[in-house]
Structures are given as C-alpha cells and as structure tokens.
C-alpha cells in the first residue's frame, strides 16, 4: 500500500526543502499519465521508510525542479522531461531532451499527449 499526499505545484520546493533539512534521502520521482493530466510522485526515504507526495499538473504547466535541493533529482527530471514531455524550471543541468533519446527519436514517447511541439526544420521533426 502506498501512501502519498497531494501538494500544490507551488509547494514542491518548500516540501523538498523540508525533506532535505530533516535528513531524508531522495529516492526517485515517478511520472504517470492519468486521464489528461500528469501525476508526479516524489519519493524520499529515512530509516528504510518511504515518504511520498505527489502533484497533478496539466500538460502545459512547468514544474519547479528540485535538482538544486537534491542533486540526485537531476537525471530523473531530465528523464521525465524526455519521456513524458513535462517541462521543469531551473534544472541544474538541462539535457534538452537528449539524455537518453537521440536527435531523431520520437518526442515524449511514454505520453499519449505530445506536449513538446516541433517546428518545421527542427532536428527532431
């Protein structure tokens, strides 16, 4: 059984800071597509116990990155951006959608909603 509480988009950084300041380790972020929204679950750990919160976002909303607080979130958020097209604000290092996928790979392949639009002439077209 997984317990996770919902937070608002603008509360993500505050929540992550709370976990960081209280000695919780970052485990991962998991993105799910649910109906026409994305749910991102943030998971932390302390003493083998997992603690989670999640946020629902619409496909066009930008999510504040927690990679400045937890450096380990950097590859995870880049992967979510690449696979689902979710945009993260203030990533410590932004791979621009090229962490795993090649230049000519399909865009946001794990999402049924394509939210990264390509203009004519782009490499990814």
């Amino acid at each position: 059984m997984i317990t996770s509480r919902e937070v608002k988009l603008e509360e993500i950084e505050k929540e992550a800071k709370y976990y960081y300041n209280n000695g919780y380790r970052f485990v991962t972020e998991t993105c799910l597509e649910e109906e026409s929204k994305f749910r991102i679950i943030y998971t932390f750990e302390k003493g083998y116990q997992l603690y989670s919160f999640h946020v629902y976002i619409s496909p066009t909303e930008e999510v504040p990155s927690i990679s400045k607080i937890y450096f380990a979130a950097l590859p995870v958020e880049n992967e979510i951006h690449e696979m689902f097209g979710v945009k993260f604000k203030n990533l410590v290092l932004d791979f621009q959608g090229l962490l795993f996928l090649g230049e000519y790979a399909p865009i946001s392949p794990q999402a049924s909603i394509e939210i990264m639009r390509r203009s004519k002439g782009d490499k990814n077209e």
């Binding site: 485990v27 991962t28 962490l99 794990q110």
Partner: protein
C-alpha cells in the same frame, strides 16, 4: 616562464577500453585536472518500461529479466515481489529461500566481474584474469541449477519455476568452498598489493554525509560508512538469515573495493545459511489471470545497490505503469560529484568505482 593553464575538452567514451558498456563523458580539463564533467547516455536505450502496455504482467517477468545480464535474477525478483504485493499473495517459503540463493550467487559473480574490470582499468591484467576465472565457477553453478549461465529466468509471479534438489545443493556447497578459497586469494592480493592501493586509496572520496544526501546506494554508500542494505528489511528469506550490512569508513575507491570483496564472503555465507534452512514445499502458487487495480513498490538490494520498482494497475492483464529506478541511475549524482577535481588518469577508476551498469540505467 609560468604557463597559464588552459581549459580543454576531452571526450571519454562511448567506446573506451575500460568501458564494458557505452557511456560518454564530456570532460572539461585544466592541465591534468577535471574541472567539469557532463554525461551523455542513450546508446543502448530500449524503453522497456513502455512494454507493460503490450506484454501482460506474466510476460513482463521475462522482459525485466533481460534489463541487465549481471543482476537479471534480482530484476525478476523485484518485479515479482511488486506484483505479488499488488495481488496480495504470499509465495511459498521454499521459493523465498531459492530466490535468496540465486540472488546471492548473482551478487558474487557481479562483484567478481566488477573486480576484474577495475583491475583491467588500472592495468593489472593478471588480477583481471584471476577474478574472471573465479567467476566462471559461479556461472557453472547458475547453469547447473537454473539452466542458463547469464539470464537465468527463475522467477515467476507467485514463486520460482525451478528447484535445487539436495544432491545439487551438496555439489553447490562443494563448489562454493573452492570459490571461497579463490576469493581469499583475491582478498589477500587486494589488501597487500602496492599497485591497487596506489590507484584506489584516497581516490573518489565521498564523505558519509555526501553519500547519504546524494541518494547513493549499495557498496558506494556503504563504503562511506552508511549501513543501508535493503536485505535487512527482510524481504524473501532474508528475515530468517543472520547478517549485517558490510560497511567501510574511508569513502574512497579502496573502501568500496573492500566492501565488495567482503560482500562476496557474506554472499557465500548467506547461500550456506539458506541451503541449511530451506524448507520442503511448493515452488509457486497459482495466480489469477487478472490483476486488481492498485499500486505497489518493491525494493531489492542488487549488487550495485537498491533497485526500486513501482507498478500501477487499473485491473486486467496489463499494468498501466512500470517504473524502475536502478542503482546505477541513483549513483549517477555521486559520480558527477566525484569527477570534478580528479586527475584525468583517475577518470576510468572513478567511472568504475560506482560499478556502472548502463543496460540497467537505460532500460
């Protein structure tokens, strides 16, 4: 005349003599010192998580077994444990013990493979050959007990699909005696050899606090003095076995090497304990063809550290979502933290110190 240092960019990989799998690092160096490092992946990306929409939850066991050739049994185990939790079934005790035996054999052969690669990275070819020669014995045991040397595919949802009978168990224990003797030789070399110490002591230091907050897992974390090992949570039959996490305090490449070598002895001990305590009984339980709706998480200690499986089902034969956070993925942050400030000559050792598995990372 004092020469001003200049920055240069050096590509490391994706094809490199020390890399068994492709990873690219763009290294910004100043003279011989690395000042910045940017990784690039994607050379073997397969998108296996997406297959949950096309393969039913039983077929997916076979898919996750193929994520990685070195810890395949533990991928299968972690996935099966997640599905079993979702369904709400308890697997037979004998199956739990068999899962421990195969998982620990995998840990030994993974650590031996890594040890050989590290030796190769700093030019100690004899040690590389010695390590891989010992590993062959474990591969033989896997072949004899599971039918395959690499991807053994023993796990099914509800238990395991193969057994180890008493005669085979006796033979396995005899073989392990030989393996233990050889690993002792390896341990002696590692603790006394000048070359190994020169190339590993004080290299890639991670403090206890850094390792903890960077989300590091496995021997990299325990080599920095943090006693976190998922097996102590008691999944499978670990709750009935006597062991403590192996911890070293120095946080450098040498400490991580010692952790892995000590873990091989620990794994041998765990296999012996499991064989001595394994109960008679069924290998698996029957499961219904459809999954209930819900979510589940499973965490298993692989050779490189904790693997995290998240699954979500909306009911039916197919999962809606499978998310796998592999140990190498978790250790990327610590690698990127260790590289700046190191010398160019130490980069191969630093890349190997986290025991990177790119197949796992790219799934």
């Amino acid at each position: 005349m004092i020469r001003m240092s200049e920055k240069s960019t050096i590509p490391f990989g994706p094809q490199h003599p020390v890399l068994p799998e492709p990873i690219h690092l763009k290294l910004i160096i100043e003279d011989e010192k690395v000042v910045e490092a940017y990784p690039a992946f994607g050379f073997v990306h397969r998108g296996l998580e997406m297959l949950v929409k096309k393969k039913d939850f039983n077929q997916m066991v076979y898919v996750v077994d193929h994520i990685c050739g070195i810890c395949s049994a533990m991928h299968g185990q972690a996935y099966c444990q997640a599905v079993e939790e979702l369904i709400g079934i308890d697997v037979p005790e004998r199956a739990k013990y068999l899962r421990v035996i195969w998982a620990e054999l995998h840990r030994i052969h993974s650590h031996l493979l890594w040890f050989g690669l590290l030796a190769d990275a700093f030019g100690f070819e004899n040690l590389f050959m010695l390590s891989w020669r010992i590993r062959e014995k474990i591969m033989d045991i896997l072949e004899a007990t599971a039918g395959n040397r690499v991807i053994i595919s023993v796990n099914v949802v509800g238990g395991v699909r193969r057994d180890i009978d008493s005669e085979q168990a006796r033979w396995l224990l005899d073989e392990l005696k030989e393996v233990e003797k050889s690993i002792k030789e390896l341990d002696k070399i590692m603790r006394n050899n000048y070359t190994i110490k020169q190339r590993t002591v004080g290299i890639g230091v991670l403090t206890k606090e850094e390792a903890y907050m960077l989300g590091t897992v496995g021997p990299v974390l325990r080599g920095s003095g943090v006693p976190i090992d998922m097996r102590t949570t008691g999944y499978a039959a670990y709750k009935d076995l006597d062991f403590e996490p192996i911890v070293e305090k120095d946080g450098d490449t040498y400490a991580r090497t010692i952790v892995r070598v000590r873990e091989m002895f620990q794994s041998i001990d765990l296999v012996r304990q499991a064989i001595s305590k394994i109960p008679e009984g069924e290998l698996n339980v029957k499961i219904k063809p459809n999954l209930p709706a819900g979510e589940a998480i499973s965490r298993v200690e692989q050779p490189r550290g904790e693997v995290f499986y998240y699954i979500k089902s909306n009911g039916g034969k197919y999962l809606d979502r499978l998310r796998i956070r592999t140990p190498t993925f978790a250790n990327l942050a610590s690698l990127l933290h260790m590289l700046p400030g190191s010398t160019l000559a130490d980069v191969p050792v630093l890349v190997l110190t986290i025991d990177p598995c790119i197949s796992c990372t790219e799934r």
